[in-house]
């Protein structure tokens, strides 16, 4: 029981890191980016390839996945995404679906369609058992590691957005780009940096989750729904919203698949519809934005 809860929390935390970048681009920059999963996939494959081909240690691959995807994100933002900011949502949806299709087929072509597995280092394969009976709690050390990383990330991002000069500039640029530019804020650069960090986080999430979720070319399509649910349910104007949504989703998914495996993801989807009917803007909404 507690073990399941813990697994759910770990899965939720992973989803949180994966979706955070999407929440940022969607909520702050008002851009529906369905191609977010492609960045996560890029991170996962960077990890897999670096470990298998170059023989890097696992822990060194994580920052590499973050940096490389962030770079890719910055480049793509500059080249492709920027002209799409002002367009209608339908155009953005189609544009990013196109990107997903390209990413899926591209990975299929260059790396192959079979699922890649990750060889975790020895110290991540241990398990801790606490208590006994119905209340026993078994924790894999890798899942513990994921939870720890995600908590640190969430706290530091919250601090970055709320406390630093960059965070203030970003919020200003989002609320009114023209006035922000008039005040001397380099809006373009702020957006690019934000997009890069968001993509980098997706890459990191993909790398962290490569073991749990499995890496295959269809990854962006398979998990796209989950990312979108986190953002839609959590609301995209804060960090707390997606965090709570990701945790609820992760726990509901793990419990649902354990107790009623035949219903699959039915519970999660129904839950999402119910929440969205109850609060169409998401659970946590920042008041007073346009």
């Amino acid at each position: 029981m507690l073990t399941l809860l813990f697994d759910g929390i770990a899965f939720g935390m992973l989803l949180f890191v994966l979706s955070l970048g999407l929440a940022v681009t969607m909520g702050l920059m008002n851009f529906i980016n369905l191609a977010h999963g492609a960045f996560a996939m890029a991170g996962g494959y960077i990890l897999v390839l670096l470990m298998q081909k170059a023989g890097w240690p696992f822990l060194a691959c994580l920052p590499a996945a973050f940096l490389l995807t962030a770079l890719a994100g910055a480049g793509l933002e500059r080249l492709l995404y920027r002209p799409m900011y002002g367009k209608p949502h339908l155009d953005q949806v189609l544009f990013s679906i196109g990107l997903v299709f390209m990413a899926v087929a591209g990975v299929d072509y260059f790396i192959g369609s079979e699922q890649k597995n990750v060889q975790l280092p020895e110290f991540f394969r241990q398990r801790f058992e606490l208590g006994s009976g119905a209340l026993s709690l078994g924790m894999g050390s890798y899942r513990l590691f994921i939870v720890a990383v995600c908590v640190v990330l969430a706290l530091s991002l919250q601090a970055l957005l709320a406390k630093t000069r960059f965070g203030a500039r970003l919020r200003a640029a989002v609320d009114d780009p023209r006035v922000a530019a008039g005040l001397g804020i380099p809006v373009d650069r702020v957006f690019m940096l934000t997009f890069a960090v968001g993509s980098g986080l997706a890459g990191l999430g993909g790398a962290l989750g490569a073991d749990l979720l499995g890496m295959e070319p269809a990854f962006p399509l398979k998990y796209m729904v989950y990312f979108l649910i986190v953002c839609a349910v959590g609301g995209t104007s804060s960090i707390t919203g997606p965090l709570v949504a990701a945790l609820v989703l992760g726990i509901a998914d793990v419990f649902g698949k354990y107790y009623v495996p035949k219903l699959g993801s039915f519970i999660v989807y129904s839950l999402m519809i119910a929440i969205l009917l109850w609060r169409p803007q998401g659970l946590f909404v920042r008041q007073g934005v346009r």
Binding site: M26, I32, L80, P83, M84, K87, H89, L90, D91, Q92, V93, L94, F95, I97, G98, L99, V100, F101, M102, A103, V104, A105, G106, D108, Y109, L221, V225, L228, I229, C231, A232, T236, K262, L263, G264, S265, F266, Y269, S270, M272, I273, L276, L277, P280, Q281
Partner: protein, 319 residues
Amino acid sequence: MSFQTSLLARSRWRPWEIGAWVVLWALPLVAGQHAALINEIAILALFALSLDLILGYAGIVSLGHAAFFGMGAYGAGLFAKHVMPDPLMGLLVAMVLSALVGFITSPMIVRGTDLTRLMVTMGVALVLYELANKFDGLTGGADGLSGVVMGPLLGRFDFDLGARVASAYSMAVLFLAFVLMRRMVHSPFGSSLQALRDNRLRLSAIGLSVNGRLAAVYTLAAALAGAAGALLTQTTGFASLDAFEFHRSADVMLALVIGGVGWLWGGIVGAIAFKVLHDLISAVTVQYWTFWIGLFLVVLMLVGREKLFRPWTWWKKRS
């Protein structure tokens, strides 16, 4: 009298439209060896037409239109298997069933932002997918619903392997739907839908019910999508979970966007272009055709829909 004719001129059949339909009707007769492809195109066109109704005319961004397609597919299949094999009755039942689902889910799309609608429509399709997967006693689960044997059309024409009857049947349904939609779009109801798309607040300010209109158009679109699904099951004798899948919703949106949103011929033109493109690219690379369709989408969106299909405007200055 003259102002009346000028007002009605917009809704009159143009000569090229009649010509295009003559060509479309002639296709199954002339190109009999491609009847299966023509059948597929007609079904996709009908599906795209129904999406056009809510996306192009009412402005609802939906990524879950496959929900109604799948409802129609399974409805027609189950009806033929358990009740009676007459295709027309099956079509009717499937449409009523899909319309019912559309009507029930329509309150979900009247609230919230584009993102919320996107998620809710997608969620409905996913929920139905999981249900169809779960009740495998009824639907056959992941194996699909097989053993659907259709009776002869109108009690006379048997569905043959060459799909000639099937293509003519699908074409006829597409034609009827097109005429119906053409009539509706140019009616006061259709005008009010376009007003709704452009400015909801003003529509409610002139005393028309926004929610009622949305529910009506969503139900109608669901019925048409259900008809498309029913046609697929009836002409192939098979229904599978594939009918509910996300890629079906994405494909139909693609087809519609290629053809042009908010234009009745958009669905038909788009379906033809999409299927032909699919066939051509698949002939070169079967596995990687999604790459090229993705590239096409990205370029289309970057350049702009208006611009790409009007090459003569490429070198003009932006106004």
